[in-house]
């Protein structure tokens, strides 16, 4: 009895839904409904995403373009002048060098360390949860605020004497291992460099900070990958008496290669957009005191040209996009050849 009523009800629903669908099709109800639901997103995307794409290309191809002169009625020649100017500008070359150097140093170091930590975390049971929590901690931080903490840790307080009043906690540790006087002026070493370049000490501070900051995300992804690896491979290796190093190189890394490729690619993209971590550590001067912009990056270059030299900024932004695009393609090509799925 009850079953029968359910069946009739179901049939009734089926009939009604069919009729409803036919009706909706007739008036093309869904056609405009979809667009209405999407309208707020589309309006905002047209203004703040689509228009900028066209406008950036336009501005980059108008030689010497600035908003002010355009408002005043000036016309611009069409050409690649902005791109040539950007490439020839010495400040841009410094930015490019800094960006590439920081990326090339931090991506391999952080990936390797994250891999090591993830493998170790995966191999232990005791305290595993607590350690995972600790390693995830830097992710949920403000890169400007913690950058200021790193600056304080590396900074020396110079008094009137030959030896600074305080060499800073990092130098304290170095002196503990290498003897007194082995401290390094991390923050202001390059302040007197005549060619406006930063010192290796300044770069070291940035590399340490960027790696510290990049670890949690990479560990999270790699650990997630490790936990989904089939345990049978390891059991087979155990039966064969394979050494740990060999297991790592022959089983763990190949099985983890899609995740490694992912963190390397996102690492490169993030590296080429490095900016706020440097502002966090070195301040808006982006360099040691007296040598401003010695640690400037591509994004920093673009930001400083916004509102002043839009043509140059657009050209630089397109160059940055080009570099990121090419590097990502190379990464994908290499990882497609090397990764096992």
């Amino acid at each position: 009895m009850a079953n029968e009523s359910v069946a009739t009800k179901k049939y009734y629903w089926y009939e009604v839904s069919k009729k409803l669908d036919a009706f909706a099709k007739k008036i093309k109800f869904d056609q405009w409904k979809g667009w209405i639901y999407l309208s707020p997103a589309i309006v905002l995307l047209l203004i703040f995403t689509v228009w900028p794409i066209f406008n950036t290309v336009r501005m980059s191809l108008l030689e010497g373009y600035t908003t002010m002169t355009e408002i005043n009625g000036a016309t611009f020649q069409f050409g690649f002048g902005n791109f040539i100017r950007v490439i020839k500008y010495p400040g841009f070359i410094t930015c490019l060098k800094n960006t590439v150097l920081l990326t090339v140093l931090t991506v391999p170091i952080s990936t390797f360390l994250a891999l090591l930590i993830a493998v170790c975390l995966n191999s232990i049971k005791l305290f595993s949860r607590a350690l995972q929590t600790i390693f995830f901690l830097p992710y949920v931080t403000n890169s400007i605020a913690i950058g200021m903490v790193f600056a304080a840790m590396f900074n020396m307080i110079i008094g009137g004497n030959a030896r600074p009043d305080s060499v800073g906690i990092v130098n304290n540790v170095i002196e503990f291992f290498f003897g007194e006087g082995s401290y390094i002026n991390w923050m202001n070493a390059g302040s007197a460099n005549p060619d406006g370049t930063a010192s290796w000490a300044n770069f070291t501070v940035m590399v340490v900070y960027i790696v510290w900051n990049a670890l949690p995300f990479k560990i999270l992804i790699l650990l997630g990958g490790l936990q989904s690896v089939n345990k049978q491979y390891y059991d087979a290796a155990k039966v064969d008496g394979t050494s740990r190093a060999r297991v790592f190189a022959r089983i763990t890394v190949p099985l983890l290669s899609p995740m490694i490729a992912y963190v390397v690619i996102t690492g490169f993209i993030g590296g080429f957009k490095e900016y706020s971590s440097i502002v966090g550590v070195f301040g808006e001067g982006m360099g040691p005191v007296g040598n401003a912009y010695a640690l400037d990056t591509m994004v920093g270059f673009i930001y400083r040209a916004i509102g002043k030299q839009e043509g140059t900024a657009s050209a630089a932004a397109l160059i940055l996009f080009g570099i990121i695009f090419v590097v990502t393609m190379i990464n994908l090509y290499v990882s497609n050849k090397k990764t096992h799925y």
């Binding site: 629903w13 009604v16 839904s17 869904d30 056609q31 405009w32 979809g34 667009w35 639901y37 999407l38 707020p40 997103a41 905002l44 995307l45 703040f48 228009w51 900028p52 950036t56 501005m59 360390l113 090591l116 170790c120 232990i124 350690l131 600790i134 995830f136 901690l137 949920v140 403000n142 890169s143 400007i144 605020a145 913690i146 200021m148 840790m153 900074n155 009043d165 305080s166 304290n172 202001n188 510290w212 999270l220 992804i221 997630g224 080429f272 957009k273 966090g280 550590v281 301040g283 808006e284 040691p288 994004v299 673009i302 930001y303 916004i306 932004a317 940055l320 996009f321 990121i324 695009f325």
Partner: protein, 297 residues
């Protein structure tokens, strides 16, 4: 015959003993390595907190103290009294921008994701593919033109300029669409038959079912407002609208001189505190969001 058996057994025992020793060594090495790395990860937070509790004279001692001799809360009082920082104002500004932009962003994201997941219309797939393609372009490329646009709209130094340009996140739309697609279509058809309006269905069925993802988006969006630096610095760098990260950086411009670092560390600790609370109570939502996106904020 029996002699060889005994020997074999002895060998076996030796081998297992050896393996045990190697295993213990590996364990010790693993824990040592992890402990050292964990110390390095935690140390900046520790240093921030203890430095913020030190008197300036103690902070400047040549031999540093790993724990303050005199715990001094004065630095925190000084942070609140700092005329360059105006911490209370920064806090309110940031919370206001964070809440308004999160709510509006959630509405737009839910509506868009619903359209992409449930509604049929011409050009849907092409539009979706186009949206995904825009995710590849670095944000800096948009900023140049957006600066001109908001300037032309007369939005400079308002809250609008901090909220509106970033309301649509293609990634969140994508995330939620995938979530919506998992909800069986039969539910939708049944609701339609019952005469339920789409919006009611969205509110009563789809939103409750995708609540974890919506919470992840909310947290990431709030954290984004808290941590955003470049755009606020560019377009709303006045006292009335400045956001907290920008305010923190501009209040302590002298990054490497002999500034009063304990006060600075107290300010940094106060800015970091809400993030720590989020980390402690809502970690699983963040981790879920992060492992899917790989983007900060």
């Amino acid at each position: 015959m029996s002699e060889t058996k005994v020997m074999q057994q002895r060998d076996l025992q030796q081998v297992t003993a050896q393996q045990k020793v190697i295993g213990i060594c590996a364990k010790v090495l693993t824990y040592t390595f992890l402990s050292i790395m964990a110390l390095i990860i935690i140390f900046p937070f520790y240093w921030m907190i203890i430095s913020s509790l030190k008197e300036l004279s103690e902070y400047r001692r040549s031999i540093p103290t790993l724990f303050p001799k005199v715990i001094d809360y004065k630095n925190y009082i000084e942070v609140f009294q700092n005329r360059d920082l105006l911490l209370g104002r920064l806090f309110l500004n940031t919370v206001y921008v964070g809440i308004v932009s999160t709510i509006l962003s959630l509405v737009i994201t839910v509506l868009s994701a619903f359209a992409f997941a449930r509604l049929e219309f011409k050009g849907k797939n092409a539009l979706f593919a186009f949206l995904l393609a825009t995710m590849m372009i670095p944000g800096e490329l948009f900023t140049i033109t957006n600066y001109q646009t908001v300037n032309a709209f007369g939005w400079m130094e308002t809250f609008t300029v901090l909220i509106v340009p970033f309301l649509v996140s293609v990634f969140y739309i994508y995330l939620l669409r995938q979530n919506f697609l998992q909800i069986p279509n039969e539910l939708y058809l049944a609701a339609k038959v019952d005469g339920t309006k789409d919006l009611k269905y969205l509110w009563k069925v789809m939103i409750p079912l995708s609540l974890p993802n919506l919470i992840s988006i909310t947290i990431l969006k709030m954290m984004g407002a808290w941590n955003s630096y470049m755009w606020p610095r560019l377009v709303a760098n006045d006292d009335a609208h400045r956001l907290i990260t920008n305010g923190l950086r501009t209040a302590f411009t002298d990054a490497s001189g002999n500034t009063d670092i304990p006060v600075q560390m107290a300010a940094v600790a106060l800015v970091s505190l809400p993030l720590f609370l989020v980390f402690i109570f809502l970690r699983k939502y963040i981790m879920k969001g992060v492992s899917r996106s790989g983007i900060k904020g």
